[in-house]
């Protein structure tokens, strides 16, 4: 069973439905025991980093998640959920994340030409650097759906895939049993479902 951690941000219905569509049992929960008993965890999230980080901290679910990661459980963060895995974010100030992957969340606005609209909204293609884990069922160049104004800056060794929007930016990361996608697999059609299948197939 996969636990989708519900810490009070965003619409988790689509995410749960997409797991159901590939035949995986997924539960939306804020219950510590359910999270501890789950085989794998999803950290979702949309909206502002500061608010989400605060909710994760205040609910205690951030600590629960970190403990599970330490025990070796496979975790995937999606969109803002991926950003929260990092050390800190520079979205409206400086805010601390979970520190599970070394790196920072920075704005596109500082790095790209003003002809690029912000947020990036839409389908962009992936350049795969490691197609062995969550991406084993998709191909280099496949399209996925992005909605974001910030992206992760981190060591290349954690980058599983990039995409291009004025610059080559981090589209997906992995460090041991911790994974993250900046895009929304649950909104990326068949390609996205294949990424979720890859996640489910991992040990």
């Amino acid at each position: 069973m996969i636990a989708i951690i519900d810490y009070g941000v965003g619409n988790l219905f689509s995410l749960q439905s997409s797991f159901n569509a590939i035949g995986a049992e997924a539960i939306v929960t804020k219950d510590k025991t359910v999270i501890e008993n789950a085989e794998k965890l999803i950290l979702p999230g949309v909206g502002a980093f500061e608010d989400a980080a605060k909710k994760l901290r205040e609910s205690g679910l951030g600590e629960v998640l970190k403990n599970e990661v330490q025990k070796g459980k496979t975790v995937m963060g999606i969109c803002l959920g991926m950003q929260l895995l990092f050390d800190k974010s520079y979205e409206f100030g400086v805010h601390e994340g979970l520190g599970l992957i070394p790196g920072n969340i920075v704005p596109f606005a500082d790095k790209i030409d003003s002809s690029f609209q912000i947020p990036q909204i839409g389908w962009n293609n992936l350049k795969l650097y490691d197609g062995s884990t969550i991406f084993k069922n998709i191909n280099d160049g496949d399209f996925v759906y992005f909605v974001h104004s910030y992206y992760a800056e981190c060591d290349k060794k954690y980058v599983l895939a990039t995409s291009d929007y004025g610059i080559e930016f981090t589209a997906a990361v992995g460090r041991d049993n911790v994974f993250g996608c900046q895009f929304h697999p649950e909104k990326s059609g068949e390609v996205g479902l294949n990424i979720l299948r890859g996640f489910c197939q991992m040990k």
Partner: protein
């Protein structure tokens, strides 16, 4: 590279898609779920569901339908129609909408965009504006294009973007239904004024109209249409092939 999006818009009344639809492969052409699935499997990059119901019962049916769509269709879903309060945002987001489109609601309550952006993030707040030329200026119309609000459109759109709208849909009343192409002049004026993605709506009659749109206004993010898709006049996959042949980047699956 970020691709141009093609978006079919489905008008839903009392839980059914209005405007006749004629696809042989569909058993129930006015089922939003079936039609939505069909589009998502045939090249649509996103779907817009527009609730044109007035009654409370119709509204309840709409959210039921939306939930069923979100459980079965795994591309982005935008919902519009009857969005006047934060409760309306909450209602459709809980049923699986990814983005919420506000039009008259933002005109009646100018704080709505800002409040919603703060609560749900800019990425989920879409400003939709129905615009018509009046005495040489672009004017915002409300209530489905019936009432002249007196608001100058470009400054209105700018204001809403400053307040947190993360995307703008520009629907030209002047070209809507004419099927002679998008309103290039109006779209160009909006594109120059804002730095969020802009979606063009109103006027699509042929594949060439989409080619012209993306060539003449290269910064436009997406083209939205209803009847040309619903009546089968344009198949989205064919349209995308033609766009690609014209060096316009699109997602082809």
């Amino acid at each position: 590279m970020l691709t141009k999006r093609i978006i079919p818009c489905l008008d839903v009344k009392d839980g059914r898609v209005v405007k006749g639809v004629n696809f042989q492969s569909l058993s129930d052409v006015s089922s939003p779920v079936e039609l939505g699935k069909f589009y998502s499997q045939n090249g649509a990059d996103e779907l817009v569901f527009y609730d044109i119901t007035a009654s409370a019962e119709g509204r309840r049916l709409f959210t039921d339908i939306l939930r069923e769509c979100a459980a079965n269709i795994f591309i982005p879903l935008t919902v519009g129609g009857g969005i006047n309060t934060l409760d309306d945002f909450d209602r459709v987001l809980k049923c699986g909408a990814d983005k919420v489109s506000v039009n008259s609601g933002a005109i009646k309550n100018p704080d709505l965009v800002e409040q919603a952006a703060k609560l749900y993030g800019s990425q989920c707040v879409v400003l939709s504006a129905d615009i018509k030329r009046v005495n040489g200026e672009f004017r915002v119309f409300a209530r489905g294009g019936r009432d002249d609000t007196g608001l100058e459109a470009i400054s209105w759109i700018k204001r809403c973007c400053d307040n947190g709208a993360g995307e703008v849909v520009v629907n030209s009343i002047d070209t809507d239904g004419v099927k002679k192409g998008f309103d290039i002049e109006m779209l160009d004026a909006v594109i120059k004024a804002v730095n969020v993605p802009v979606v063009a709506s109103g006027g699509a009659g042929s594949k060439a109209d989409f080619v012209e749109l993306f060539q003449k206004v290269p910064a436009i993010s997406a083209g939205l249409a209803a009847s040309v898709f619903h009546f089968g006049e344009i198949a989205i996959n064919d349209l995308k092939k033609e766009l690609k042949e014209n060096n316009i980047q699109v997602r082809i699956n």
